[in-house]
């Protein structure tokens, strides 16, 4: 079995914490945005869609730098949050979670949007004729029917968050125990003369996490199809 050292555990657990928080915080925003994009036409929709997908195509170092400019202590939003709410992102694990959340957001939103688009809108009409106000229709019909897509999006987002490197290291650096995730730990270990074995162990862990996430996303997608056919 893998003989994982305490320092490596620290990186693994930090990665898990960062990815879990990033996914949980991003999910409500993801559902709201997926619903907006799936169901509404409005001025600037393609622009919003492009902005959401931007982290997927921008060099991660650019995203990280933009985060630093915005959410750093001297940044417009970061300065405000630090001063009035006491929330600091720069060089903290919370900043790593923010970077991971932003980077994984496009992957998180996509399956949610697809599953909302796949819902038969005539079911929502039926709910309305039975006396359900629009918000009740959303929570009793739309959301339950899109749940497998929502879960698949969360799994994919989580997998992406756990592997995020470029934006995180640019924004919050590579501080063991605070911002050093699996990826940045591997990066440091490869540059250390005797770090190969440790790096290898972390590589195996991250490969296992990624494969596990992809398999569960696939499983949720299959359930979605089944559910929509009423079995």
């Amino acid at each position: 079995m893998l003989d994982i050292s305490p320092a490596e555990w620290t990186a693994i657990l930090l990665s898990l914490r960062v990815a879990v928080i990033a996914t949980l915080v991003a999910t409500p925003f993801g559902i709201a945005l997926a619903w907006l994009l799936a169901r509404h036409d409005f001025w600037g929709k393609s622009f919003l869609d492009a902005v959401v997908h931007l982290p997927l195509v921008l060099p991660p170092v650019v995203t990280g730098y933009l985060l630093l400019l915005t959410f750093g202590r001297k940044g417009l939003v970061g300065g405000f949050l630090a001063e009035y709410l006491g929330i600091v992102f720069s060089f903290r694990w919370t900043g790593a979670a923010l970077a991971c959340g932003v980077m994984s957001f496009p992957l998180l939103v996509r399956p949610m949007r697809l599953s909302i688009e796949a819902i038969d809108r005539r079911l929502e009409q039926a709910a309305e004729t039975l006396g359900a106000a629009p918000w009740k229709v959303f929570f009793t019909v739309t959301l339950p029917l899109s749940l497998p897509g929502v879960l698949a999006g969360m799994v994919l987002g989580f997998a992406k968050a756990i592997g995020e490197f470029g934006a995180t290291i640019t924004f919050v650096s590579n501080i063991p125990g605070e911002t050093q995730t699996i990826s940045s730990a591997i990066y440091s270990l490869i540059q250390t003369p005797d770090g190969d074995a440790a790096a290898g162990r972390l590589v195996i862990v991250s490969v296992a996490l990624a494969i596990g996430a992809l398999i569960s996303a696939e499983w949720f997608a299959r359930r979605a199809t089944k559910r929509l056919h009423g079995n």
Binding site: R122, L123, E128, G131, K136, R227, G230, N231
Partner: protein, 220 residues
């Protein structure tokens, strides 16, 4: 009971219909494309008339001149669609209970029992809609609409998707419903035989216009 006087332009098609009825079952008769479904969707509030008024049970639910348009969910109507539209993520019992929950009505076990027996769906309560036959689905859809305690029941070709054998299986339930459930109905169909058995009054639609109105004899 129901007063309709509406106009609606749908692409090339123009619908202009006016009738008032106290009948227990108003049969809306016409060929496909005559505007029957559009008319029913307007009564349900799913489609908004360009001009005119709709009054259900004394309540004005649409009046374009006064800017009134009561949303569907506040109209207290029941709607049975051609494709039953049962919720696939809920079992039959939960489907039946949906309208009651959405309207925050107190449970009414007596009514529940009566309707489940009337439609003969007691054996299906634990099943998912995907495991039901077309006829069973339609009976559950009827029950679901009735249990929301509507003041008007709209049925848009409820037998349209069923083969002849299944139609004959459902028709007696609809007759019982008419005689026992005490809810006025609007029944849309292009089938003369069906309407003869069920309707008490007929509104005949042709290319978006009402061409005759009266007793079942106008069907001849």
């Amino acid at each position: 009971m129901l007063r309709v006087d509406v106009e609606k332009q749908l692409g090339e098609f123009s619908l202009s219909a006016s009738f008032a009825s106290e009948g227990r079952v108003i049969g809306l008769f016409g060929a496909s494309g005559a505007g029957k479904s559009s008319l029913v969707n307007m009564i349900a509030g799913l489609l908004r008339p360009d001009r005119g008024t709709i009054v259900i049970d004394g309540e004005t639910v649409d009046d374009t001149a006064a800017g009134i348009h009561i949303p569907t969910y506040q109209r207290r109507i029941g709607y049975v669609f051609q494709d039953a539209r049962l919720f696939p993520h809920l079992n039959v019992a939960q489907n039946l209970d949906y309208g009651r929950r959405m309207n925050s009505l107190a449970p009414d076990p007596a009514q529940h029992k009566r309707i489940v027996e009337l439609l003969d769906i007691g054996a299906l309560l634990d099943r998912r809609p995907g495991k039901l036959s077309g006829g069973e689905r339609q009976r559950v859809a009827l029950g679901r609409a009735l249990l929301s305690k509507p003041r008007l029941l709209l049925l848009d070709e409820p037998l349209g998707a069923l083969d002849e054998g299944r139609k004959l299986e459902i028709l007696p339930y609809l007759v019982r419903l008419r005689d026992e459930a005490n809810v006025p109905m609007v029944y849309v169909s292009h089938d003369v035989a069906e309407l003869r058995q069920l309707a008490t009054q007929i509104v005949m639609l042709k290319q978006g216009r009402v061409t005759s109105f009266g007793g079942v004899k106008v069907l001849t």
